[in-house]
Amino acid sequence: MTEFLQQLLNGLSLGAIYALIALGYTMVYGVLRFINFAHSDVFMLGAFAGYYLAPIVARVFPSGSVAGAVVVLLSAMAICAVIGVTIEYLAYRPLRRRPRLTVLITAIGVSLLIEFTSQHRLVFGPSPRTFPQLLDARTLDIGGVAIGTTQIVVFVLTAVLLAGLTFVVQSTKVGTAMRAVSFNEQAAALMGVNINRIISFTFALGSALAGAGGVLFAMSYTKIEPLMGVQTGLKAFVAAVLGGIGNLPGAALGGIVLGVVETFAGGVQGLSNYRDGIAFAVLILILLFRPAGLLGRAQVEKV
């Protein structure tokens, strides 16, 4: 029983990070109907932003303080938002009226460009680095189940960000505009919605979440490197599809399901080698029976 609870906890904390990244994939898909493959690299850039910001912030706020960690997190999110908007402006906007496949291939190109530029020794270099400790990490023992303070931070922050996102999308003017663009771009434009601004905003929001995911991932696992987004980004993309791409709660649920399944598969002797494979097999199974994903409904409200 303890083992089960421990695994559940491990899976949830991994899944929470997948969920944060999956939200970015799903939001862009909702509005533009294409997969932004460069999203996983924005996640990586978020972790590196945190890596370079931490020593600077530590000069103002004592290292290990909550204020310092919050400043690092928010700055990394802001940097990623700017990067996301820039990518959209430079790479995707000129192709807005082209076939969707063109944009998709461009997205792969942008992703590879970021990955290989970052690996150059004048940028980050390809060697792994140790992420600085933003908060004092301790491990609590609750009835034999070990829970790290970092894990608690990850849970709380993910919940806060999810609630914030839901609020923005459902209850604000710009969120209504996002949903309108998602529903019918031309009609939204005729109603006076500034399409370009809404798309930029969508990218800013999604990229900020990826940045937060990057910092949280780096806090939990301490190792960062330019290719860290490849595997994690792929999982998050799968999570978005699993939950029903274009559906926000679906992306969050998909992330959690994937994280939990993967962790439990890792804990089975003889299967641990296939933990990724099993996670993807679950995806195939779910899509066989629910082609639109867990929460996806064909052509109903999508953002």
């Binding site: 695994q7 595997q231 993967e262 890792g266 804990g267 089975v268 080698n273």
Partner: protein, 385 residues
Amino acid sequence: MNRRHFLHAWTASAGFLAALLLSGCGPGGGGTNSATLRIGEFASLTGKEATFGQSSHNGTELAVMELNAAGGVLGKSLELITQDNQSKAGESQTVVNKLIARDGVVAILGEVASSRSLEAAPVCQNAKIPMISPSSTNPDVTKTGDYIFRVCFIDPFQGTVMANFAKDTLKAKRVAIFTDVKSDYSKGLAKFFKERHAINGGTIASEFDFNGGDTDFKGQLTAIKASNPEALFLPGYYTDVALICIQAKQLGLNVPIFGGDGWESDKLMEIGRDAVEGTHFSTHYHPDVGSPRSRQFVDAYKKAYGSSPDAMAALGYDSAMILADAMKRAGSAEPAKVRDALAATRDYDAVTGKITIDPNRDASKSAVILRVEGGKLKYLETIAP
């Protein structure tokens, strides 16, 4: 991964084609006729196992500098041409092809990781260019063919050493094994450890696998903890090992963790911090112990690079020195003659101990066991073959 695999495969094959096209212009200006002798080296100078490549390269470079300062080999100075494979699968083959076809090197030195040596070995064997691996311990490396040599011990010995260590020093009977399935080194070492451990009367609490380069190991570690082992054997490379030790500690898996020479790097302590304290591993060499030859090397290395050499540096140095020795004895740099001379190496006084190349083209040498203490590697004992 599919998308990336496809792209990687594509770029790798494009690089290979380019190398072939270049080689069409005839083996470059190097070879045996020019004023210098070109030696090729491939190493993981960057990436996941960067410190392996850098240490090994420093050692090799120091050897070449010393040889050239003493008048070179066969009246010619040595030119070391180094290629980086970025610790990536698929790259070694490309860069070694390039070294042989474009640069016309007479011999190849490299690599530390067995998987990458195994990748390059068939290329060298087909081109009939001698290759000396400084520190790949998987037995299959030299089985590729009669042009492939190494200057370190092999994993059947290392596995035995660590199984005996578990029995005698750790007094651990129930051991869990956690293997990197992406690494030939890790799989081989785990297998040989298990064989010896069974002979020693030990049992296996559980066996789990991970993929090198992963970041989350908690699924496996939680299950390992539930299997109640007395110790955890972890044959892997330092980056993964450090992360695993951190997560093991977070999960309250407080048993001795021990492994092999893949652990040796300052990065182990840098990433792992207090989580790797008190762990043990076996390796080839420690600067605190050794012959006058070794002390001489340590001084020269400190002067050149400002730090103490590790086992990878010492073996890199030995690989270049033993090549030069074979060339001198052959009286030629012709690959076939150098090969024969290498195979005939007997009792060569190397930094890491006496080297005799056995019929399998491996070196039979002793191992040392180190302990992480206060963020440093402390020498514990030497175990003779």
